[in-house]
Symmetry: C2
Subunit: 104 residues, 2 copies
DNA sequence: ATTTCATATGAAAATATCTTCATATCACCT
DNA sequence: AGGTGATATGAAGATATTTTCATATGAAAT
């Protein structure tokens, strides 16, 4: 149980610790999209976006729905919104000038 | 600004996406400790724990206070508690049997 | 059943992250 | 100042994660 929570946290956080995947989440926050559209906007290969969508989906951070031959991805707002809110608040309070945190 | 939030998220989440660091956070949730104690309980080298404390500290996930020649680390409960709560709730709701998520 | 558009997958190469070891720094005491 | 316990740091080797390329699968239309 305890072990599992720690494992879960690791899986979840490592899924979120990737610029491409964060970019995907930010885009999906605005509007649902398919892989091709995400690839276009993010200016990356379709296969790369696809690879990155998988862990997001597996973790339940995004949902997917078929529409013809497309697969429309959307954000799990219930989880992601409060999560980002926490980060935002934390950053504001504890890293007032981002530089401090972003530097090595 | 936008760019910065994404960068911040990446930094924060990658800091949290490590079993050793999650272990440290779990221990500090119970009680403040110094590096040596953490190393003992986690059964790892002191230098390794020290290396891992750094990003946690830089991100403001933990605090540090000197006490003699020791440096006592403690958890930033304000941030970490709601963060873990979200993960827990999410896991419960979206990954009812952890296996689903934990498998490749 | 074949073509087309949309998406997913496997495996190798490229890149980033961790761990370890040796050593440096720091605070306190004598 | 020198010694000691506690902690931090640098750099390298060891591991893990990403990205890319080529190709496979899927769904719908002709």
């Amino acid at each position: 149980m305890k072990q599992n929570l720690s494992e879960t946290c690791h899986l979840f956080f490592s899924t979120l610790s990737n610029p491409t995947r964060l970019g995907i989440l930010e885009l999906l926050k605005e509007t649902p999209m398919n892989v091709t559209q995400l690839a276009e906007v993010l200016n990356q290969e379709q296969s790369m976006i696809s690879h990155n969508l998988r862990p997001l989906f597996r973790c339940g951070f995004i949902f997917a729905e078929r529409k013809g031959k497309e697969r429309i991805y959307s954000l799990n707002i219930e989880t992601m919104e409060p999560l980002f809110k926490i980060i935002e608040n934390h950053a504001e309070k504890y890293c007032p000038k981002m530089g401090k945190c972003l530097k090595h």
